[in-house]
C-alpha cells in the first residue's frame, strides 16, 4: 500500500507541479492572480480534443499545435490586455477582475463550442508502462517526466542564463530594471508565452488522463496556486516541491479518512500556510 501511495503522490504531485510552476513563473513578472491561466490550461486540453477527435489529426501533430496555440494566446492576452492595463497603472485587484472576466468569457465559449458535458481524450484503452510488479498509464508516466524536465529547464533558465537574470531583475524591482534599460514588457511577453506552453502542456496531459470539462481550467489552476503558495514562489523549487507536499497530504487524507476529504485537506493546509507561513516552505525570510 505504501508503494501505491508513493506512486500516487508522484503522479498527482507532478500534475499539480506543472500548473504550480506555470503560475509561479507568470507571477514572477506579473504578480497578480491571473485567472486566464486557467483558460490556457483548458485551451490546451480542448485544442487537442478539437484537433484529434473532431479534425481527425494524429496526436503527434495536435499536441504540439495546441501547446503553441496556448503560448500564442497567453502572449496575446499579455500584449493586448494586461500590458495596456499595467501601463495605465492598474492595480493587482483591477487585473484580477479583468482576468476573471476573461476567464468567464473563455468558459462560456467552451460551453458553446464543445457543450457542457464531460468529454474524453484518447479513451479507456490505457497503455500501461510496467515497472517490476507495478504498472501505470503512459500519460501519468509522461506527466512525471514532463514535471521533472520542466523543473530542470526552468531552473537552468532562471539561474544560468542572462535571460533568467533579466526575469529575476523584473521580479525583484521592475522600476529599477526599467531604468537600467531592460525592456520589461518584452520580458513579460516572453515569460507569458513560456508559462502558456507549460500550462498548455499540463492541460493536454490532464485531458488525456482525466478528461475534459469546461470548468477544468479553474479547478486545476486553483490546486496549482495552492501548491505554489505552500512551496513559495521565489524559486522554482517552491512550487515543484510544494506540489508533492500537497499531493502527499491529500493522499494520506484519502487513505486515513475517505476520498471525500481530499479537497478539505488541501484547503485546510492552504489556510494554515496563509496564516502561519504565507511565503511558503522554501521562501527565504525577508531581511
Amino acid at each position: 500500500m505504501f508503494l501505491v501511495l508513493l506512486i500516487n503522490v508522484l503522479i498527482v504531485g507532478a500534475g499539480y507541479g506543472l500548473m504550480a510552476m506555470g503560475f509561479a513563473l507568470m507571477c514572477s513578472v506579473s504578480p497578480f492572480f491571473n485567472l486566464t491561466l486557467g483558460s490556457i490550461i483548458a485551451l490546451g486540453a480542448y485544442g487537442t480534443y478539437a484537433l484529434t477527435n473532431l479534425a481527425g489529426l494524429p496526436a503527434v501533430f495536435a499536441i504540439p499545435a495546441s501547446i503553441v496555440l496556448c503560448a500564442v494566446l497567453s502572449a496575446l492576452l499579455e500584449r493586448f490586455v494586461y500590458t495596456p492595463f499595467r501601463l495605465k497603472g492598474a492595480s493587482s485587484m483591477v487585473l484580477l477582475v479583468v482576468s476573471l472576466g476573461l476567464y468567464t468569457i473563455s468558459e462560456a465559449f467552451i460551453h458553446l463550442a464543445f457543450g457542457p458535458q464531460y468529454q474524453i481524450l484518447g479513451g479507456v484503452s490505457v497503455q500501461n508502462i510496467n515497472f517490476a510488479s507495478f504498472s501505470m498509464p503512459k500519460v501519468q508516466f509522461l506527466t512525471i517526466v514532463a514535471d521533472f524536465v520542466i523543473f530542470g529547464i526552468l531552473n537552468g533558465l532562471l539561474f544560468h542564463t542572462f535571460f533568467g537574470k533579466t526575469i529575476r531583475a523584473v521580479n525583484d524591482n521592475p522600476k529599477l530594471a526599467d531604468i537600467t534599460g531592460l525592456n520589461n514588457n518584452k520580458i513579460i511577453l516572453i515569460v507569458s508565452a513560456i508559462a502558456g506552453m507549460i500550462l498548455g502542456l499540463s492541460g493536454v496531459l490532464t485531458g488525456f488522463d482525466t478528461g475534459l470539462e469546461p470548468t477544468m481550467g479553474f479547478n486545476l489552476l486553483f490546486k496549482g496556486i495552492i501548491a505554489a503558495i505552500i512551496g513559495g514562489m521565489s524559486t522554482m523549487k517552491g512550487p515543484f516541491l510544494g506540489a508533492f507536499f500537497l499531493a502527499a497530504a491529500e493522499n494520506i487524507g484519502v487513505l486515513a479518512l475517505s476520498s471525500e476529504w481530499r479537497d478539505l485537506v488541501a484547503f485546510v493546509i492552504f489556510i494554515i500556510f496563509l496564516m502561519f507561513r504565507p511565503n511558503g516552505i522554501f521562501e527565504k525570510k525577508e531581511k
Binding site: I7, S125, G211
Partner: protein, 362 residues
C-alpha cells in the same frame, strides 16, 4: 373615385360578415396548461431534450375530446436554484394548471412549491420524498425494484462480501442505500466507499478495496468520476465482477462498458423510441418512456374529469383521480399508483452491445 370607395366598403363588410358567420362554428375548447421544468441545457441537455420530445409526442398522440392541452417548457439547466425560478415563472407568469419536472434534483425543488400552491406536480424521478403531500406524484422505477433485481444478480454470483462505490448524488445514493440494506438483510458483508461528483483520482480507493478481497464491486457514479473509475478499474486489471444500477448507461467511452450488463429502467414502447430516433437521431432513451407516461397520465386525468363534469377539474379532483389509478398500460409497462402517489413500474437488465444498451432480461 366614389364608386371605388363604395365598392371597397362593400368588400370589407362582406368579409366581416363571412368572419362573423364562421365564428359560432369554431367552438373554443378550454385549454389546460402544463408547465414542464426540464433540463434543456447543461450537462444532461440530451436527456432533457428527449424528455421534451417524448412529451410532445404524447400530446400529438393523445385523442382529446372537449379539451386542449398546452405544454410550456422552462429550462433549469440541471441546476437546483434555477429549478425554483423555472417553477415560479411557470406558476405566476405562464399561469399553468399543473407541473411536470424531470430529475430528482428539480423534483425536490418543485415539490414543496407545488404543495404550497396546491398544484398538481408529477415528477419524473424515483425519490420518494418528492411525492410527499397530496399534490405531488412521481413516476420512475423505484430504487427498491432496481435494488431487488441487482441483489438477485449478486446472490447468483455467490458473493459474500460486496464493495459499494457511490457518488454523492441523491438518486444514486438512494439506490446504493437500498442495495446495502437488502444485502445486509440477506447476511452479506458490505463496505461503502463514497466520493464526490468531481473526484478524479481512484487509485488509492480501488487499491484499498482490492486488498479487502471483495467478491463483487458495485458502482453508482456519473461522468466524469464514472469514466475515471472505470479507467482505473481496467488499468489495474481488477478481475472482480462489476455490477451497477443505471450508471453504465452514462459512460462517455461506450467501448469501456461493452458487453457489461446492469440493472436499469425500461425505455418505453418501440414505436416511441423509433419516432424519437427518427426525429433527432438520439439513442439515449433514459427517462423517455416515463416522460411519455407522465404527460399521458396528466392529460387522461384532466380529459376524463372534464368529460364527466364539463369543467376544468380542480387540483384536488385530479389528485384523487390519479391516486385511484390502477393497471394503466404505460410506455414502460403496467403502472400501479401506490397510496403515496408513487407510480410503481418494473426494472430490467440491459447489456451494452455495440455501444447501445439492449434489454436482456425483462
Amino acid at each position: 373615385m366614389f364608386k371605388k370607395l363604395i365598392l371597397s366598403l362593400c368588400l370589407v363588410l362582406a368579409l366581416g360578415a363571412c368572419k362573423e358567420e364562421k365564428a359560432p362554428e369554431a367552438q373554443v375548447k378550454p385549454v389546460v396548461k402544463i408547465g414542464v421544468v426540464d433540463a434543456l441545457s447543461g450537462k444532461y441537455a440530451e436527456n432533457g431534450q428527449n424528455v421534451r420530445q417524448a412529451i410532445e409526442f404524447a400530446k400529438e398522440n393523445f385523442a382529446s375530446s372537449g379539451i386542449d392541452f398546452e405544454f410550456v417548457f422552462e429550462d433549469y439547466g440541471y441546476e437546483s436554484k434555477r429549478a425554483a425560478v423555472a417553477a415560479n415563472k411557470l406558476i405566476h407568469v405562464d399561469k399553468v394548471d399543473a407541473l411536470i419536472s424531470w430529475s430528482s434534483m428539480s423534483g425536490n425543488v418543485v415539490s414543496p412549491i407545488a404543495d404550497k400552491m396546491k398544484m398538481i406536480h408529477f415528477a419524473i424521478c424515483n425519490d420518494d420524498r418528492v411525492a410527499e403531500g397530496k399534490y405531488n406524484f412521481t413516476h420512475f422505477t423505484p430504487s427498491q425494484k432496481l435494488a431487488e433485481k441487482l441483489v438477485k444478480q449478486i446472490e447468483d454470483k455467490g458473493a459474500q462480501k460486496v464493495a459499494l462505490f457511490a457518488v454523492y448524488q441523491p438518486a444514486l445514493q438512494k439506490h446504493t442505500d437500498e442495495v446495502e440494506r437488502m444485502l445486509k438483510e440477506k447476511g452479506l458483508k458490505t463496505e461503502r466507499f463514497n466520493f464526490s461528483m468531481d473526484n478524479l483520482d481512484f487509485d488509492l480507493m480501488l487499491e484499498k478495496a482490492r486488498q479487502n478481497n471483495f467478491d463483487v464491486w458495485y458502482i453508482a457514479a456519473l461522468p466524469p468520476s464514472l469514466d475515471i473509475f472505470l479507467k482505473t478499474f481496467f488499468q489495474k486489471n481488477i478481475e472482480v465482477p462489476l455490477v451497477a444500477i443505471d450508471s453504465l448507461l452514462f459512460a462517455q467511452d461506450k467501448a469501456s462498458v461493452e458487453g457489461m450488463s446492469f440493472v436499469t429502467t425500461p425505455d418505453g414502447n418501440k414505436a416511441l423510441l423509433e419516432k424519437l430516433t427518427a426525429t433527432n437521431g438520439s439513442k439515449n432513451y433514459f427517462s423517455v418512456g416515463y416522460a411519455y407516461d407522465v404527460a399521458n397520465l396528466l392529460m387522461k386525468a384532466y380529459a376524463d374529469l372534464y368529460k364527466l363534469n364539463k369543467k376544468i377539474p380542480s387540483s384536488d379532483e385530479v389528485a384523487d383521480y390519479l391516486l385511484n389509478l390502477k393497471g394503466y398500460k404505460g410506455a414502460v409497462g403496467e403502472l400501479i399508483m401506490d397510496e403515496r402517489g408513487i407510480v410503481i413500474s418494473p426494472a430490467v437488465v440491459k447489456q451494452m452491445k455495440d455501444g447501445v444498451p439492449v434489454v436482456i432480461e425483462e
